[in-house]
């Protein structure tokens, strides 16, 4: 038959595609290859919800094939034909019931994880978290380390096994801060500091990106997130302090202008710069700031 031939071609192609997707490139699937507790739980959740869905989906697909095949119109067919049969309370109750059960299961899991993975919730750890303040600029990421006193552009480094408290804001159109192998993203918005807790369990370099479109230079907003040992991190901090220039207020204004940027390091930054960026918009909510802006800091225009 003509259709079955086409179907065969299709399935061969499909196998080919599957082969393509699964052979030797598992590392490429960043989301399925997490290196931190948050990403790990999100991956588990993704797999669990997929499996639950498949409980319904697979039988439906098989059923579709069987029904279409068995009840196709042809000469000498033995299968029943009941043109008036249109209702069966038992059957209809069953398939209102099946999705209700599956969806209820997924819903319970979802609600539990929604609370436990709420991004502003601190991670459980014996180690003190470090804070990194992230500012989305057109079209680069500025990272400030309030505890270490340094700043970087398009590069962020932190020690492994230490919870990181990212405080995220924007001095440009809304973006989204995402390091897929560590965990899910969160929007970077002006006038507020969003909090995202992540942690790396392994040393390594992870891809970070801006996930929400912000215009011309948006495709250049990748950055590297590097997790190292505590010693290497401390050494890196003192190296940046010793060798780089300071970020001044004027320097920040220049940096905030539209344009892409290479990786840059700064030995210091103006005190309260992040708080000022958050609060300079009139509709600010300054919840989420770890260091409350005690001093009124204003940009001298």
């Amino acid at each position: 038959m003509k259709t079955s031939k086409t179907a065969r071609c299709l399935s061969v192609l499909y196998m080919f595609l599957l082969l393509f997707m699964t052979t030797g490139c598992a590392d490429k699937y960043l989301v399925l290859n997490p290196k931190g507790p948050i990403g790990e739980q999100q991956k588990d959740l993704m797999i669990l919800s997929t499996l639950l869905c498949l409980i319904v989906i697979v039988p439906v697909l098989i059923l579709t094939f069987v029904i279409v095949w068995r009840y196709r119109d042809r000469k000498g067919r033995k299968a029943k034909y009941t043109p008036e049969w249109e209702h069966s309370t038992a059957l209809e109750t069953t398939w209102w019931g099946i999705p209700v059960v599956i969806i209820t299961l997924i819903a319970i899991i979802t609600v539990r994880y929604t609370y436990s993975l709420e991004p502003s919730k601190p991670l459980e750890s014996k180690v003190e978290p470090i804070t990194i303040q992230v500012t989305n600029l057109d079209w680069k990421w500025l990272f400030q380390y309030p505890e270490q006193g340094i700043a970087t552009v398009n590069y962020v480094q932190f020690p492994e096994d230490v919870p990181i408290r990212f405080e995220i804001t924007s001095d440009a159109p809304m973006n989204s801060f995402w390091i897929p192998q560590l965990g899910g993203q969160i929007y970077a918005m002006s006038g507020m500091a969003m909090v995202l807790h992540l942690q790396a369990d392994e040393q390594g370099e992870y891809m970070g990106s801006g996930a929400n479109y912000t215009g011309k230079g948006f495709a250049d907003m990748y950055f590297t997130a590097k997790a190292t040992s505590q010693e290497a991190f401390d050494q890196w901090v003192s190296e940046v302090k010793g060798t780089s220039a300071a970020l001044t207020l004027d320097g920040y204004k220049k940096l905030a202008e539209q344009g892409t940027s290479d990786v840059r390091y700064f030995s210091s930054f103006p005190e309260g710069l992040f708080e000022m960026t958050v609060t300079k918009y009139a509709a600010s909510h300054n919840h989420g700031l770890s260091v409350k802006a005690r001093k009124e800091v204003r940009i001298e225009e």
């Binding site: 969806i103 979802t110 502003s120 918005m189 929400n212 948006f218």
Partner: protein, 653 residues
């Protein structure tokens, strides 16, 4: 003077891109060709009388469908350009600015100017025929809806060559769409193109609700109504509640841009998050507005080609009504990552999952419509069956996305892109294709070629899977949407290449469809087009194409699938005495009024009040003129009905 004119022209027209110059030339040539053909064959009068001023729902429907096919072409070319740019890492085919414009226009055009009019076209052509009505409830309004849509669509498309296209994505999130970051004209074209056509959509929604509630033929109670009409009702209810939100949202954005308001800006107390909420309060129901009628089509097609009653009619109706209500309670699932907190996210995750239940039920009902039926595989049924696995997978990834904490990893990635293309292409567009193939003989009175139809079906499906399955993978690899290029180091090359190949196949499938239409138009196979599928509902009881008054005598309905029942009983039409038929008169006001709207919109885009104000005055004048029209209707004499009936029966039997 000359310098000033030159400066104006360089800002007014889009310059500097060979692709756009090419488009300029082809647009000019097409226009010249159309004008010359019409003039040479002296067809201007015919065009004006028979089409431009018509209030006949069937002709309006055909114009909707024609316009949507044109827009499918434009949106499809946009898609192919994007896929070409992404086929390989670091390609220099399109610069970032151009790519950003193209993904924006692709989204807007495909949803608002392709899917919506294709849907409205099917509403128009089929609903009155299914109800046994002679036209919609408000024929004048119907024509106005079409022309408003058309003006809006043309205004939006004009931005391609004049003023510059919008580039802020299909929903134009501020602050990026604010004047600060987006000073050009494109965003204003976006606002006015959608505003003008949106008014038309709202009126269509009202029109069809009233038509369905008030214009059904004697005996057709609501629970005897065909499923497609039910789906139209549920979709229109959603339109009536959703579209005003869109209009208000865009009006507020316009105030920000034009009058320097601070509603959604960062400074001055504005809040962009408000816009994102508002636009999705429309945007989410919009998706269901599109997919509900497709559900109706699947139901009709499944019953017809299984030669069996639709299984679970009541639960189908119930499911659609639930969907149209609950679709208003899920909007925040589009931004779980905006930090609304666990309570809000949990609520919207649950409401989203709830929708999966009635949707799942519908799939089971379609399957059991085929169960113990006599399934045949004509083109419309092929689409229907092909859609089931497609839609089931798309639905499943939808449930996955609704798991809020996991969505933090899917959001804004190609996983999301793949999901919504799967539900919108495989659910909505393929569904409307099924409807088009199904009702084509009724619409035009000739049949399409089955072989070419099957070829198009397989190409579309093969292309679809090749294009979008790899995009799920790309999402899991961390590829985010709207990037115009990516590096070799990312490892995204192979999947993107496969995806582009799939897109090309879908392009080829579109060409096969156009070829099919041209081929069938030439062959003009009119044999047996009145009821070619041995179908079940009233539209198949009258000749194809239907006479302009649809039913010479209004049918008396006693059963759910009344036409099928009548055929089973060997019923033949009793000889009733014909009466003069009450019909609406054509009117030139809708097209003229829409032209005024177009000028107002164009004037506001360029801040030319000398054009915008007269435009609005013209709109007002049209309203006044129409309200003094005391004779919008007339009676078709019995002799003419007899003549048309005799000719139509000869034509289609």
């Amino acid at each position: 003077m000359w310098d000033k004119a030159k400066e104006f022209a360089s800002e007014f027209f889009v310059t500097g891109d060979p692709l756009i110059y090419g488009a300029d030339v082809s647009i000019a040539l097409t226009l010249i060709a159309i004008v010359s053909v019409l003039t040479y064959y002296k067809k201007w009068g015919w065009l004006w009388r028979e089409w431009l001023t018509t209030v006949d729902h069937k002709r309006i429907g055909i114009m909707y469908i024609l316009a949507s096919v044109l827009m499918l072409f434009r949106g499809g070319v946009d898609a192919l350009l994007m896929r070409a740019q992404l086929a390989m890492p670091e390609l220099q085919f399109l610069p970032a600015e151009h790519y950003n414009q193209i993904f924006t226009t692709h989204g807007v055009i495909m949803i608002l100017f392709m899917a919506m009019p294709l849907m409205f076209g099917l509403f128009n052509v089929i609903v009155p025929l299914q109800l046994g009505a002679r036209d919609v409830a408000f024929p004048f309004l119907n024509s106005l809806s079409f022309w408003l849509f058309f003006s809006g669509a043309m205004l939006f498309n004009l931005s391609f060559v004049i003023g510059g296209s919008p580039d802020a994505g299909w929903l134009a999130y501020p602050p990026y769409s604010d004047k600060t970051f987006n000073p050009g004209y494109g965003q204003d074209f976006y606002i006015w193109g959608i505003q003008i056509s949106g008014i038309g959509s709202l009126m269509t929604g009202i029109n069809f609700i009233v038509t369905i509630l008030k214009m059904r033929t004697p005996g057709m109670t609501l629970m005897k109504m065909p499923m497609f009409s039910w789906s139209v009702l549920s979709s229109c209810i959603a339109i009536v509640f959703a579209f005003p939100i869109l209009t208000v949202t865009l009006a507020l954005l316009f105030i920000d841009r034009y009058l320097g308001g601070h509603i959604f800006t960062l400074d001055g107390g504005g809040n962009p998050m408000m816009y994102i909420n508002l636009i999705w309060m429309w945007g989410h129901p919009e998706v269901y507005i599109l997919v509900l009628p497709a559900f109706g089509i699947f139901s009709e097609v499944a019953a017809t080609f299984s030669k069996k009653k639709l299984f679970g009619y009541k639960s189908m109706v119930f499911a659609m009504m639930i969907i149209s209500v609950v679709s208003f309670l899920t909007w925040a699932h589009h931004f779980f990552t905006m930090g609304s907190g666990a309570d809000v996210n949990a609520f919207f995750a649950l409401s989203t999952m709830v929708i999966a239940i009635p949707t799942g039920v519908k799939v089971f009902n379609w399957l059991f419509t085929m169960f113990r039926g006599k399934v045949t595989f004509e083109t419309p049924m092929l689409w229907m069956i092909g859609i089931i696995p497609n839609f089931v997978i798309g639905g499943m990834t939808g449930v996955l996305l609704s798991v809020a904490p996991a969505d933090f990893q899917y959001h804004n990635s190609y996983f999301l892109i793949a999901h919504f293309h799967q539900v919108i292409i495989a659910g909505v567009v393929f569904g409307f294709f099924a409807g088009l193939y199904y009702w084509w003989p009724k619409l035009f009175g000739f049949k399409l070629n089955e072989r070419l139809g099957r070829l198009a079906f397989w190409l579309w499906n093969l292309g679809f899977y090749l294009c979008f399955m790899p995009q799920y993978a790309l999402g899991l690899m961390g590829m985010t949407r709207r990037v115009y290029t990516y590096g070799w180091d990312k490892g995204w090359f192979e999947m993107n290449l496969v995806s582009t190949i799939g897109a090309v196949l879908m392009g080829a499938a579109f060409i096969v469809q156009v070829w099919d239409i041209a081929h069938s138009l030439k062959k003009m196979d009119r044999e047996g087009t009145q009821d070619p599928w041995n179908a079940r509902t009233l539209e198949w009881s009258i000749p194809s194409p239907a006479p302009f008054y649809n039913f010479a005598t209004l049918p008396q309905v006693t059963h759910q699938d009344d036409w099928w029942e009548k055929k089973q009983r060997g019923w033949s039409a009793p000889a009733v005495e014909l009466e003069p038929i009450h019909m609406p008169k054509n009117s030139g006001i809708p097209i003229i009024m829409s032209m005024f709207w177009f000028f107002s919109g164009f004037g506001l885009v360029f801040d030319w009040l000398w054009l915008a104000v007269p435009g609005f005055v013209g709109v007002l004048a049209c309203m006044i003129v129409h309200s003094f029209n005391y004779k919008p209707d007339y009676y078709v004499p019995v002799e003419e009905v007899q003549r048309v009936e005799a000719a139509a029966r000869r034509g289609s039997k």
